[in-house]
């Protein structure tokens, strides 16, 4: 039995993901997600031992091959203005964003 992503669940995800979608986009994305879920369902049928480890990387990083971490030091950035110039809105070297609307916590 394959799970199905309901419209309510989908709308919740869209809200969490901070995405504004057109109705046509929403319909396409929900359909594709449910199609992908059918493929993912194959995983559920695989017999797994309790002690099968999870793998966050394929290559096992041994102590010898793991690079030393850089020292956590403050370094001057040589091109601050170049980076600030990328921001959509800046005022006196502060990045400006629209107002944060007030919301009453439930």
């Amino acid at each position: 039995m394959t799970d199905t992503i309901s419209r309510a669940m989908f709308d919740h995800l869209v809200d969490l993901a901070a995405l504004e979608l057109t109705p046509a986009e929403a319909e396409y994305l929900l359909q594709q997600m449910n199609n992908q879920l059918k493929s993912i369902a194959e995983l559920v049928a695989i017999p797994l031992d309790e002690d099968t480890p999870i793998a966050s990387h394929g290559v096992p990083y041994t102590a010898e091959m793991s690079p030393q971490l850089r020292l956590d030091l403050v370094r001057p950035c040589p091109n601050v203005d170049e980076i600030l110039a990328q921001a959509p809105q800046v005022n006196e070297r502060y990045v400006i964003v629209p107002d944060i609307p007030h919301a009453t916590l439930e």
Binding site: L13, E20, E25, I54, V59
Partner: protein, 529 residues
């Protein structure tokens, strides 16, 4: 042969013998681009299609002509002064537009980064430049690398296959492989997360190498799935791929996953042949399992006979040169590569895409001046195309607290099983003791434009034979293995143990020598005929 079609390793010799200059090489590539590339990809091109678009490659988003001319001139000046200009001196290279090159746009083929100019340069690009390479420009890809055809790029027209512009070049490094196949540059820098170097290399008839995870630094690469992404070379022959890997591989203090493993001399061993090497064939790589588009039920099919025949012939040639071919190697978890990838890559992609918020850089909607949350939603809604949106939502779903045990944790365990398959067959004291596995790279040749795009499930299954190497972290090399009945290139794939790139290159080089006089090697891509 024109300079732009000459192998990089030959250009390096010609340059040192002063039989050509870096500027002449660059001019030859620029003339080829002018002849075959057509207009570059842009956001909402006006008009959307032009009659002259037909038959063009459209590999580029940003051609960096002035920058390239300055670099070529600097190489020529060094040579004139008797200085060593580096092993890749004067060799033009295209860069997949997912890497940062300081001062150049880094778009990721997405509207959300269309106006972003990189403030620093990615390590692999820095290393190419230090080796004397000439950075020719940034080439197209699937948006944020999310696709296997290049069609999802926000920059249209998207790249076409030089062997037949009605077909896709593959993806996501389709701009890289098309630019190399069309002679626009001898080398390109791509990335491979599920097959994104190898699949388009196979589709475009060039060599593509996904190095071991950690072999090449990811610093300056716009992240998709951080535990899977691998930068690597695209070239027209195995020697050039080795030359390029030599330049970009190695530890990097800027990337904590760039492994502290010495880089061998890939060129020194390239011609050592295959005598004594054990090369495996697995039935699990001669069939594909995919969901029936009508019923959704999983179905199994053998890969087309001509792909199997190409692999079998390669095995026979390698055996004649002294390799030992090991049949019936079990790789039982190959079929789970795509379902596991659907989960792992989406979770990592969703995490990486949360940073695009219209605040610090990139696209901000003009339609939400007074509400921060609306600005976030609109900027992301208007800035991302359908494929990034799909990955964000799917990644959030499968990693949600109530589902993560069922999906995400399970996928990470399946990833262990896939890795175990490789460990067992490459184990030096195991039953198989393989040096490499030989497989087809893809289940089909390049498919027609618009034939699969839109169906995100079927598009993903194009990577079924390449994605296991990304889960396992092992290196994979795709190299041309002939032409199919449809006139399109067939790719052969070698997979090996961690950091065995030198062996894979050696095997592919032996095959290249054995097939040097084959008739298919004389056939040029359609755009060059």
């Amino acid at each position: 042969m024109e300079l732009c079609d000459t192998p990089a390793y030959e250009l390096a010799v010609l340059l040192r013998q002063k039989r050509t200059t870096a500027t002449e090489i660059l001019n030859s590539c620029l003339a080829r681009i002018e002849a075959v590339d057509g207009r570059p990809g842009t956001l909402e091109p006006q008009p959307a299609t032009l009659p002259e678009d037909a038959g063009k490659v459209h590999a580029f988003i940003t051609l960096m002509k002035t920058h390239a001319m300055q670099q070529a001139q600097a190489v020529d000046e060094k040579l004139a002064a008797g200085e060593d200009p580096g092993p890749l001196a004067g060799i033009p290279v295209t860069i997949k537009d997912i890497f940062c090159v300081r001062g150049a746009p880094a778009t990721a083929a997405s509207r959300i980064l269309a106006n972003f100019v990189a403030p620093y340069t990615a390590t692999p690009v820095t290393r190419l430049e230090q080796a004397g390479a000439v950075v020719l420009g940034k080439v197209n890809l699937d948006e944020f690398t999310y696709g296997s055809s290049n069609e999802s790029s926000a920059f249209q027209p998207s790249t076409r296959n030089p062997w037949n512009p009605e077909r896709v070049p593959g993806g996501s490094s389709g701009g890289s492989t098309a630019s190399v196949a069309a002679g626009e540059a001898p080398l390109s820098l791509g990335t491979d997360t599920a097959g994104s170097i190898r699949q388009p290399a196979a589709f475009c008839g060039v060599v593509g190498l996904k190095p071991t995870y950690g072999r090449v630094s990811r610093y300056g690469l716009i992240a998709f799935a951080s535990s899977l992404d691998c930068p690597g070379p695209v070239a027209r022959n195995v020697t050039d791929a080795a030359l390029m890997l030599q330049a970009i591989a190695g530890p990097d203090p800027q990337d904590a996953t760039a492994a502290n493993v010495p880089v061998p001399d890939y060129l020194a061993v390239l011609d050592e042949g295959v005598r004594g090497l054990r090369i495996g064939l697995s039935p699990d790589y001669f069939r594909i399992t995919y969901p029936n588009p009508e019923t959704g039920e999983m179905e199994e099919q053998p890969v087309p006979e001509e792909m199997t025949a190409a692999v079998r012939r390669a095995a026979k040639l390698l055996a004649e040169m002294g390799a030992e071919i090991v049949e019936d190697v079990p790789m039982p978890n190959t079929r789970y590569g795509i379902p596991a990838y659907f989960v792992i890559s989406r979770v990592e992609a969703a995490s990486n895409l949360h940073r695009y918020d219209g605040v610090k850089y990139g696209y901000r909607t003009p339609d939400a001046q007074n509400d921060l949350r609306l600005m976030y939603r609109r900027s992301r809604g208007q800035g991302f195309g359908p494929q990034p949106k799909l990955r964000i939502l799917m990644g959030m779903y499968v990693s949600a607290a109530q589902y993560s045990a069922q999906y995400y944790n399970r996928a990470l365990k399946v990833r262990s099983l896939i890795r175990r398959d490789f460990d067992q067959v490459f184990d030096r004291s195991g039953r198989y003791r393989l040096d490499a596995l030989l497989t087809p790279t893809t289940p089909t040749t390049a498919f027609p434009m618009a034939a699969v795009y839109g169906n995100s499930v079927m598009m993903q299954y194009a990577d079924q034979l390449t994605v296991p190497a990304n889960h396992a972290g092992v290196p994979g090399l795709s190299f041309p293995g002939g032409l199919a009945a449809d006139g399109m290139p067939i790719g052969l794939q070698l997979l090996g143990p961690d950091f065995s790139e030198a062996t894979l290159l050696r095997i592919a080089r032996s095959y290249e020598l054995a097939t040097e006089s084959d008739a298919w090697r004389k056939v040029k891509p359609k755009v060059l005929r």
